[in-house]
């Protein structure tokens, strides 16, 4: 059913009504004919966050290209909208046709971070659907999910019918077509799911189970008879040939990224040991400069944006980055189009590249040394030296930047208070360096500002640190207190994450299926939007854990080397032995190089996916 009039008539009562109206430029409102498979693409956070998610943009346009399918969008309603929907009996609906979710064949969630799990439940509930997959009806839409936290989706496995593991462009259309034809054969949902589980990258959680021991440990992971034992991640083999949209939807409301987003490469082989994306998105694949220029031209024309953002896990690692940036500025600067870079590394080359795109406006530059001492940076295999940091900072100040933002983590393996002190010292030295440059320059330069942002390290699955014990609350607070006392003064700002929130993220990030009931309890008690600081209530979660007899500390402890992990139902293409070896390397402060320039370290990804690293600048030792 559609409720457009009722919705429009009532939206003036709430804040930001334009989150819920759709009708944006380039949105696709296809006709609802019976031949079309109808997919609702859901993002479990508010509109302005969801609209900035690249994966969802790709899927939306990819599916809508198909004649026999349509895809529409739905985002999590903010609390005031949820109240209005309940009061006026408006079910969750999509922004294109205003159809309620129950009218769709498939509801697909993008999993972006653990803190959005209660929003997923809320969206199911507002759609009038049962939370647990086992309680949903035959005629209810199939609930599927994929995205970056799919690599440990076990805490929500009970709510989802089917997961897609890996990069969706590779297989999503095949999956949807298969589903459509199976449904036409009038098979039951469970028969269809069994057949779909035969496809690579498809994980039907109801066909798998966990066996627990007396002490709560996992004894075994079981798959139903005849089902594959592990689900292997799917990747796009040739990124340059892969589909990429240019007719992006242009939101009216301010969103996080209001610009043409160009993904220049995928994957990163720097091997930072804490980084989930660095492991999960291997191998490295790059788009060609020609294709990127062509995509930029088309997207600018189609959207009317005045900015292009070149994104990837590490922009300067793009093997032809200087040429790319030069060609982009050459082509677009006289049209008053600005170019921005994401994820700069801490080195002089990054500053040069930033200088290239930022000839006039110099706002702020962000560096992520991650740790305060060289010893700890070696533990995490960050592969930057103290000297890199200072020369990057000096170069930034000399080129006119006065604001520098530094990212660090606390709670990394082997960290001592010495390393925490190192964060404060590094920040002070960079500030001093800036002030020295400012004193000696003839140019006008604004006051030096160094902002230090410290997050608490959360061990992530399928990384070398998946075994590591997370800091307890007292330790985190002690470190925060130390930094707050030592990063003080007019030229500094210091920000940190809520320790309770980090701890919850830690529990969910390495969680298993026993957490499903906890998430339901927290949702029932009103938990929503945990990722938004003002919405997070630790008390609710404390009660939810207690009521379900779950000790959250159990999920934060150091794991034994041979322990079976809940997430090992999936295979990301990197053997556990490689990760364990890397964990040991970390403890011994042994560095490994980027395999694009050095020898292969045996992560086995290339062989497992029958791909080679796709580097447009070629393999070179000069990097």
């Amino acid at each position: 059913m559609q409720f457009k009039k009722k919705i429009i008539e009532n939206l003036y009562k709430i804040s930001s009504p334009e989150r819920y109206t759709g009708n944006e430029w380039n949105s696709i409102d296809k006709e609802w004919n019976p031949e079309r498979l109808k997919v609702a693409l859901a993002f479990p956070d508010v509109y302005e966050i969801g609209m900035s998610h690249l994966g969802l943009k790709i899927l939306y346009h990819l599916i809508n290209r198909e004649e026999n399918m349509l895809a529409e969008r739905v985002y999590a309603p903010w609390q005031d909208m949820e109240d209005l929907m309940k009061e006026e009996e408006i079910p969750l609906y999509t922004l294109e046709s205003y159809h309620e979710i129950k009218d769709f064949d498939i509801l697909g969630f993008t999993l972006q971070y653990e803190m959005s799990y209660t929003n997923i439940l809320n969206m199911l509930d507002l759609s009038g659907l049962a939370l647990y997959a086992s309680e949903r009806k035959e005629e209810d839409p199939l609930i599927i999910a994929g995205g970056s936290t799919v690599f440990n989706s076990e805490p929500i496995a009970d709510f989802i019918d089917l997961f897609f593991v890996g990069e969706a462009e590779s297989l999503i259309i095949e999956l949807l077509n298969k589903y459509k034809s199976l449904k036409a054969q009038a098979l039951t949902k469970s028969e269809i799911l069994k057949k779909l589980n035969k496809m690579p990258g498809i994980y039907v959680p109801s066909l798998y189970s966990e066996e627990y021991g007396d002490n709560g440990e996992i004894l075994a992971l079981n798959s139903a008879e005849g089902e594959k034992e592990k689900v292997k991640k799917q990747v796009v083999k040739n990124l340059d040939l892969a589909f990429y949209p240019t007719d992006f939807i242009v939101p009216y409301r301010d969103t996080v990224h209001e610009r043409v987003v160009l993904e220049i490469s995928r994957g990163c082989t720097r091997s930072c040991r804490f980084c989930a994306a660095g492991m999960a998105y291997r191998p490295v694949r790059e788009r060609s400069v020609e294709r990127l220029l062509d995509l930029a031209e088309k997207a600018l024309k189609s959207t009317g944006y005045d900015e292009i953002s070149l994104t990837s896990l590490s922009t300067v690692d793009y093997t032809d980055s200087k040429n790319l940036v030069q060609k982009m500025t050459e082509r677009f600067s006289d049209r008053m189009i600005s170019i921005s870079l994401s994820s700069l590394r801490v080195d002089k080359f990054s500053v040069e590249l930033a200088e290239e795109v930022n000839k006039v406006r110099k706002t702020g530059l962000t560096f992520a040394p991650e740790a305060g001492t060289q010893r700890l940076r070696d533990v995490i295999n960050k592969n930057i030296t103290e000297e890199d940091i200072y020369s990057a900072a000096r170069s930034a100040f000399e080129n006119g930047w006065s604001k520098i933002k530094l990212y660090f983590m606390i709670g990394l393996p082997t960290e001592t208070m010495e390393d925490v002190r190192g964060i404060a010292e590094l920040a002070q030295k960079i500030r001093d360096l800036g002030q020295e440059v400012r004193r000696n320059t003839k140019q006008r330069m604004r006051r030096i500002e160094v902002s230090v942002s410290v997050s608490t390290f959360v061990p992530k699955v399928f990384t070398p640190f998946q075994w590591h014990q997370m800091d307890d609350i007292e330790t985190i607070i002690k470190k925060h207190d130390y930094l707050r006392d030592n990063i003080k003064g007019r030229s500094f700002s210091f920000s940190w994450n809520d320790p309770e929130l980090s701890r919850l993220e830690g529990v969910l990030a390495r969680g298993d299926r026993r957490l499903a009931d906890v998430i339901v309890s927290a949702w029932e008690k009103g938990s929503r939007f945990e990722g938004w600081h003002e919405c997070f209530e630790p008390r609710i979660w404390g009660e939810a854990f207690r009521e379900n007899n779950i000790q959250p500390e159990e999920y934060l402890r150091e794991r034994a080397a041979e322990e079976i992990f809940s997430w090992e139902k999936l295979d990301i293409g990197i053997p556990k032995s490689f990760l364990l070896k890397e964990y040991k390397n970390a403890q011994q402060e042994v560095l490994i190089d980027d395999c694009r320039t050095a020898d292969c370290h045996g992560c086995a990804v290339c062989g497992n996916f029958e791909v080679d690293l796709e580097l447009v600048g070629g393999r070179t030792d000069e990097l």
Partner: protein, 233 residues
């Protein structure tokens, strides 16, 4: 060349705010690949000046902005270029060449005309409605509490802000009210003030209101801001 451009903002875009409309206009101009003039400075932007804001949740048949182009384009061509790059419910209706030193929309425009269809719990005749309006307008003052976002409530007199009021047809009320730098009146406030006297009027819905447009008060008349008198050099 400078242009004064009239546009309508209709139902699909009724919840888009004033600032979002400005942003959208800039993007439409880029998509239409019009040779717009840019502002000077560190952060060059398309030179564009818009009239007084339209409240979020209302549709309008007559809003305006001034735009500078690097070339002289036929107004008809300019309109069709803009419309080809614009969402269906943002319609460009008229473009008029104006001199560069023209009085700005924000200093010129002072009147907004609204048509409101009130819903009643029991039907009213045209005569009854005329009676209601006459009584309403014959009050010494029409005091109402204005609720302001993030600010304290304030008491205001609607009477001095209403230039004229008529019943155009059955259930079709027309109010000409002050807008811009000299104050404004929200249709929801007219509804509320009337409902205090006549509880049979139903609660406000934005779908009952159309802003017919913004105008310039010229003695007893309301004229569009592109009238020769205001743009003649």
């Amino acid at each position: 060349m400078n242009y004064r451009i009239k546009f309508a903002k209709l139902e699909d875009l009724m919840y888009i705010s004033h600032l979002e409309v400005i942003k959208t206009l800039r993007r439409i101009i880029r998509r239409a690949e019009l040779p717009a003039a840019f502002s000077q400075g560190y952060n060059p932007r398309i030179n564009l000046a818009i009239g007084p804001p339209l409240a979020v949740g209302l549709i309008s048949q007559g809003e305006y902005f001034d735009l500078e182009l690097e070339v002289d384009l036929e107004p008809e061509q300019l309109l069709s270029d803009l419309n080809s790059a614009s969402p269906e419910d943002l319609k460009f209706l008229k473009a008029v060449r104006i001199p560069a030193d023209v009085r700005s929309l924000s200093s010129l425009v002072d009147t907004a005309i609204y048509t409101i269809n009130f819903d009643y719990t029991e039907p009213k005749t045209l005569e009854e409605e005329k009676q209601m309006l006459e009584e309403f307008m014959n009050q010494e003052e029409i005091m109402i509490i204005r609720h302001r976002r993030k600010k304290s409530d304030r008491k205001i007199d609607l009477k001095e802000r209403i230039f004229s009021a008529n019943i155009k047809a059955e259930n079709k009320w027309e109010f000409a009210v002050v807008t811009g730098s000299r104050g404004n009146v929200r249709p929801e406030e007219l509804n509320r003030a009337l409902r205090e006297k006549h509880p049979e009027i139903k609660e406000f819905s934005p779908l009952q209101v159309v802003r017919e447009g913004v105008f310039v008060k010229d003695e007893e008349n309301f004229k569009p801001p592109y009238t020769e008198k205001f743009i003649g050099s």
